[in-house]
């Protein structure tokens, strides 16, 4: 307790008057942050320029979207209309429209240049400067150029009575634009994907599926066999050999592999305990159906079957990407025709141990041994007396128990055997039971 007080006390004493000087640059930082936070604070007391400008930008975007839609509908029927003299405010408005209209097509300058004569220069003027508005209108007004540069009429929604020209670029060979969608972007191997080509202004397509596969179809269907990430590229080409490329990534997930083995153990009440050894790969979760109405989600479950029968045991494994695999073991516990027959009594030779040699198919009453219909690849027979002492063990299929332990004949009575065998199909079988030693007087 002495100690307990002292450490808290020590800290209290030391830090009560601990007043380190903050670094000098802390205040400016703090002050800046404070100003910013005050500024950003949503409050009607301090309704400020940030919110005002936010609202202005939002409404500007809305208006722009609306007018743009108007323009598109009018472009088709209104052509060759000459520009008119406009007042200053309209000019400003118009300038904005030009720059916004042209900028998206900026990236297509190359194709326009190829096709156009002096239109390319025109386009550049349009997109690069706002101030050359006057010169621009002059060029636009030249009817010879309206074949490629059509002038659209726009109605300014806010000032509905005023009309002003709106240039729109038209080209006989528009640049292609590659685009496609896929039926899905991820899935389990083998993954079949159908691609839908949504490219515009192109008539020649090359698909590359990222795993070496290629196609020239319009809407190909492709199967990705192996797991991985694939870069699917569509190259769209128009008649002028202008190209556009679009790509997407397809992710193919590995499919897990379900695999298991069982080991059966029959007890004296005919209950069969089955141990499941799970050798599945790439799986995250397991679901077992033991075929007798019971299920489990353990990796290595143990299940007791009340009665022997022909059960179909099903293991379904799934990966964390949701890919699944199943394995079914049919007639897993067939008991109708037992593969092993074990006698329940025998009578040892009273004259001395005989080594227990026998051959399969031979039924000698002096030796206790199981007989097999199918020869196991592994074999272990053990005999215990009623105290649980191991009296005999054999791993040789041709050696059974002769009733002796340490060269001594064991007294008559009941003994316990435990037999463990493995068959060629990998199936383990464990059987326990009792055998009566019967010694004739």
């Amino acid at each position: 307790m002495e100690n307990k007080r002292s450490i808290e006390k020590l800290f209290e004493e030391k830090f009560q008057s601990y007043h380190p000087e903050p670094s000098p640059e802390l205040w400016p930082k703090l002050s800046r942050q404070l100003k910013w936070r005050n500024f950003m604070r949503p409050s009607w007391d301090s309704f400020n320029i940030a919110y005002l400008s936010g609202i202005i930008i939002a409404s500007a975007i809305t208006i722009w979207v609306l007018t743009n839609r108007n323009n598109e509908s009018k472009v088709q029927d209104v052509k060759n209309s000459l520009p008119e003299m406009e007042d200053l405010s309209n000019e400003v408005r118009n300038n904005e429209n030009i720059s916004t209209e042209i900028n998206p097509s900026d990236s297509n300058n190359t194709s326009i240049q190829q096709a156009g004569v002096n239109k390319a220069g025109n386009t550049k003027n349009l997109s690069s400067t706002r101030n050359e508005k006057t010169g621009l209108s002059d060029k636009n007004s030249d009817p010879s150029k309206t074949a490629s540069l059509s002038v659209a009429e726009t109605r300014n929604t806010s000032e509905s009575s005023v009309q002003h020209p709106e240039p729109e670029i038209r080209n006989s060979a528009l640049p292609p634009r590659a685009f496609f969608i896929s039926s899905s972007e991820t899935g389990c191997a083998p993954l079949q994907i159908s691609f839908t080509n949504l490219s515009t202004e192109a008539d020649n397509f090359t698909w590359s599926f990222g795993d070496g596969g290629q196609s020239n179809e319009l809407n190909p269907e492709y199967i990705f066999d192996n797991p991985g990430e694939y870069f699917v590229t569509l190259t769209a080409k128009n008649e002028n050999d202008d190209i556009s490329v679009y790509h997407t990534i397809i992710r193919v997930n590995e499919v897990p592999e379900a695999s298991f083995m069982i080991e059966k153990q029959e007890d004296l009440n005919q209950n069969i305990s089955v141990y499941f050894y799970n050798y599945s790969r790439g799986a995250e979760s397991y679901s077992w159906d033991f075929g007798d109405g019971n299920i489990s989600t353990e990796a290595n479950p143990t299940h007791v079957f009340d009665t022997p029968g022909n059960y179909d045991i099903l293991l379904k494994v799934s990966s964390n990407y949701g890919c699944i695999d199943t394995m079914i073991l049919s007639n897993a516990l067939k008991s109708q025709n037992p593969v092993i027959k074990i006698p329940n009594a025998f009578s040892p030779n009273k004259n001395g141990p005989n080594g227990g040699y026998y051959s399969n198919g031979e039924n000698r009453n002096e030796i206790f041994h199981p007989s097999f219909i199918e020869t196991p690849v592994e074999y272990q027979l053990r005999i215990f007396n009623r105290n649980g002492n191991l009296l005999f063990e054999s791993k040789d299929l041709n050696i059974g128990w002769d009733g002796y332990y340490m060269q001594e004949l064991q007294p008559r009575g009941v003994y316990i055997y435990k037999l463990r065998v493995k068959f060629e199909n990998g199936e383990y079988l464990v059987k326990m039971g009792d055998v009566t030693v019967f010694i004739q007087d």
Partner: protein, 192 residues
């Protein structure tokens, strides 16, 4: 002359000069608190900055039920707690030495004097959770129940972390003390 009432009113009006005066007055003491919580200066100053911003933004809600410094201190501590939660995700990896419980027995502090710096270093070496629990319980007078709520841990975790933090602090100080003694001895030998 520092007139707290007047400064407070000016601060409510967002007067930068008054804010500066309030800061100059209380920042050192509150930085000391932050240092105890973190054990290192950069992090402590971050907390101080964030805390003071909160103070100034919310000073109009200060109702005078406690002292101004008490209210500010509480805000700073809350900021430290927030900071702790924010940093938690970066602190998955705790040094194995911090986790190993060496010296389970009590350590004796002895009569050696330690400097504030030495003690801060000892705090800095504590795992993040221990730092919080120790400071809140031993220095700020929180109850384990409050700590558990604030740090989103179990009450028993708070208790056991506190006792482990104490032991760790004691043992680290003891070790430090022994080193200091040894150093002093060798110094005197050299002088002789």
């Amino acid at each position: 002359m520092f007139d707290e009432q007047k400064i407070l009113l000016q601060c409510i009006k967002n007067d930068p000069q008054a804010q500066r005066i309030l800061y100059e007055k209380y920042a050192p003491g509150l930085l000391g608190v932050c240092m105890r919580f973190t054990g290192n200066r950069p992090e402590a100053e971050d907390i101080l900055q964030e805390g003071f911003v909160k103070v100034f933004l919310n000073i109009k809600d200060f109702q005078g039920r406690s002292s101004l410094i008490g209210w500010m201190r509480r805000i700073i501590i809350n900021t430290a707690i927030t900071n702790y939660h924010k940093n938690l995700k970066h602190q998955y990896h705790v040094d194995i030495d911090d986790v190993k419980e060496k010296n389970i027995g009590e350590c004796d502090l002895g009569e050696i004097e330690f400097t504030q710096e030495e003690m801060l270093n000892v705090i800095a070496e504590l795992p993040a959770g221990y730092k919080m629990v120790f400071n809140l319980y031993a220095m700020e007078g929180f109850k384990h129940k409050e700590i558990a709520e604030q740090l989103k841990i179990d009450v028993n975790t708070s208790k056991s972390q506190y006792s482990r933090a104490r032991k760790l602090l004691q043992c680290k100080l003891e070790e430090l003390g022994r080193e200091k003694l040894a150093r002093n001895d060798s110094d005197t030998e050299i002088e002789e």
